[in-house]
């Protein structure tokens, strides 16, 4: 195990993040605070409780998940795409690094950034709404697992993308819409039955549902099914990363 290399990549990525805190940390926290102000305080006060949870508090897990997913993908994809873009990837390819070590460095850093952001948004939320966390251990578990899974997805996107436009394509056109339609701002039970069924095709539904359960013990989908779906998604992302390194796709000629 090349531990110095994993730490070198991790520290390098965290240092890069440290230089762009305004964009990577402050900006999403301010944006989420605006959601709390608008949906929590302004509109939320006119919306009934959902499953016994005030609307302002109800949207907190979904908003954390929204940021967690988008930032995990953005951080990890940019982290590996940038050295490809500048050409410095030659160093990673010529270093005594196994694919696992490269992934551990990049994905570990991207997941760490997202987890810090998620914790910060959670702390910010307590300034606006009264929160309770029924299952704190599970909450942390889902937070970490989701951050890792979507950082892996971001890593694959960063390897696949051939330009900055493609890098933005998946987060903007797939992740964000799926998150908004994945029960971030509503419970699936308010949808007509047919849309409830269609929503179950959206993987984000399971993430939001499980995460919300860890807060309020209420879920759209059973926690066991959510857990299985998250595990399945993790395995799919790991498989994609494994395939990329096995074939050298977009990495080696």
């Amino acid at each position: 195990m090349n531990l110095p290399a994993i730490l070198a990549i991790y520290k390098f990525e965290m240092a890069r993040w440290g230089r762009t805190l305004l964009q990577s940390l402050v900006s999403p926290v301010i944006a989420t605070s605006l959601y709390f102000v608008v949906f929590g305080a302004a509109i939320g006060s006119r919306i009934n409780e959902i499953d016994g949870v005030p609307y302002g508090a109800f949207i907190v897990p979904g908003l954390i998940m929204l940021n967690l997913l988008t930032q995990s993908v953005a951080n990890a994809s940019f982290g590996i795409y940038f050295p490809r873009f500048t050409g410095t990837i030659y160093e990673q390819l010529s270093a005594p690094l196994s694919p696992f070590e490269i992934v551990a460095g990049y994905v570990g850093a991207a997941a760490t950034k997202s987890i810090i952001l998620g914790a910060l948004i959670l702390a910010t939320a307590t300034l606006f709404v009264e929160l309770r966390i029924d299952h704190p251990v599970w909450m942390v578990f889902f937070l970490v697992l989701t951050a890792i899974t979507f950082s892996l997805l971001g890593f694959v996107i960063g390897l696949w993308a051939e330009g900055f436009e493609q890098l933005q394509l998946v987060p903007l056109l797939i992740i964000t819409p799926l998150t908004f339609l994945g029960g971030t701002f509503y419970s699936l039970s308010v949808l007509p039955p047919v849309w409830q069924t269609i929503s179950l095709l959206n993987p984000v539904v399971y993430l939001v549902s499980a995460f919300r359960w860890s807060f309020f013990s209420t879920a759209d989908v059973s926690v066991e099914i959510s857990l299985a779906m998250i595990a399945l998604f993790l395995v799919l992302c790991l498989g994609a990363v494994w395939w990329v390194f096995k074939t050298g796709y977009r990495l080696k000629s």
Binding site: N2, P4, A5, L7, A8, I9, K11, F12, A15, R16, R19, P83, R84, F85, T86, G87, T88, I89, Y90, E91, Q92, L93, S94, A95, P96, L97, S98, E162, G248, R250, L251, K252, S253
Partner: protein
């Protein structure tokens, strides 16, 4: 492709430069880029064979210069050895370790200075060089990084961001990155491209110093004069094929032509038939006679020529000899290969 070969071990009592194995890079690789790829690493059209059969052995502590025209396959060969390009066939061993089966051992030994000035533009010199050391499995060693930066006259730039540095400075940073993990083998792919004369001289001083400390240097360069000055052995690669590997002195001795130029008192229009056997060439509007001879031969024929010239009544006022440079040998070799 050449089959993998067991390389004989050189005796430790042999000449110092070729001794003290087992660090010995044996290269026998082919690369057949059979798929289209467009990216920052390589870009080959489908089916294009970038490298043909290559069978090359590099000894510890030597400076080996790989020469070849643009697109000959120099960078591809280096990229294969360093792990950036996957060979479609063949084997490459470094110090007895296969570059694929035992990549950790081989890559840890190698430092690479790429041709392109690729750098983490927004990082400081210190951060990027320290990062390279970590990537190659070495724990942080500020004293080592300080030494490398001082050796390359980068110490006063250690906190500068790479984007603010000149091209020559960036080239030094790439070398510092390659040296940060104390490699035993250093690949320098066109290290002096875009570098001013002063820095070039400093760089070669450093390369000689590294060689003296036992580091094996493999370099490609377009400045053939540099190869002539620096290298112990020369390899010429053309159209993906290694057409020659030779000790530099032996190469210049073997393939180098020597010429004797006679500056005549009076210009002549034609060479007298009595001098035909010497295959002289008239130059400078008949004011010079040029005689090409084999310096290795038992008889150069010079005495005979001078006698015949005197008999023919041709007088000359000056005489000089010249030997063909490595550049001329290289151009001749590549032309012959085509």
């Amino acid at each position: 492709m050449s089959p993998p070969q067991d390389q004989p071990q050189t005796s430790p009592h042999a000449s110092p430069r070729r001794a003290a194995l087992p660090q010995r890079a044996t290269i026998a690789a082919t690369h057949d880029a059979d798929h289209f790829h467009q990216g920052p690493v390589e870009d080959y059209k489908s089916g294009f064979q970038a490298l043909k059969a290559i069978d090359l052995e590099i000894d510890k502590g030597e400076i080996f210069a790989l020469l070849g025209p643009n697109g000959a396959g120099k960078t591809t060969l280096i990229s294969i050895i360093c792990g950036i390009v996957t060979p479609s066939a063949g084997t490459v061993t470094v110090d007895g370790h296969d570059i694929i089966d035992d990549y950790r051992a081989t890559r840890a030994m190698i430092g690479l200075v790429p041709q392109e000035l690729t750098a983490d533009m927004f990082e400081s010199v210190w951060a990027t060089v320290s990062h390279s050391r970590g990537l190659f499995g070495k724990w942080p060693d500020p004293a080592r990084i300080e030494k490398v930066l001082k050796d390359l006259a980068l110490w006063d730039k250690k906190d500068s961001k790479l984007i603010t540095l000149s091209g020559g400075m960036k080239r030094r940073v790439l070398i510092a990155k390659a040296l940060s993990h104390e490699p035993q083998i250093l690949f320098l792919d066109e290290p002096t491209a875009g570098v001013d004369v002063e820095l070039r001289n400093e760089m070669w001083g450093l390369v000689k110093h590294l060689r003296d400390s036992g580091v094996t240097i493999i370099l490609t360069t377009h400045y053939i004069q540099e190869a002539e000055d620096m290298a112990d052995r020369i390899g010429v690669i053309n159209n993906g094929e290694l057409i020659l590997v030779e000790d530099k002195r032996a190469l210049m001795h073997k393939l180098g032509k020597k010429q004797l130029t006679l500056e005549l008192h009076e210009a002549i229009e034609t060479i007298p038939s009595s001098l035909e056997q010497h295959q002289l060439v008239l130059a400078k509007d008949g004011s010079e006679l040029v005689y090409t001879y084999d310096s290795q031969g038992q008889r150069t024929g010079i005495t005979h020529l001078l006698t015949d010239l005197a008999d023919a009544g041709i007088r000359f006022r000056d005489i000089n000899t010249s030997q063909s440079s490595l550049e001329e040998i290289f151009v001749d070799l590549v032309r012959r290969d085509q």
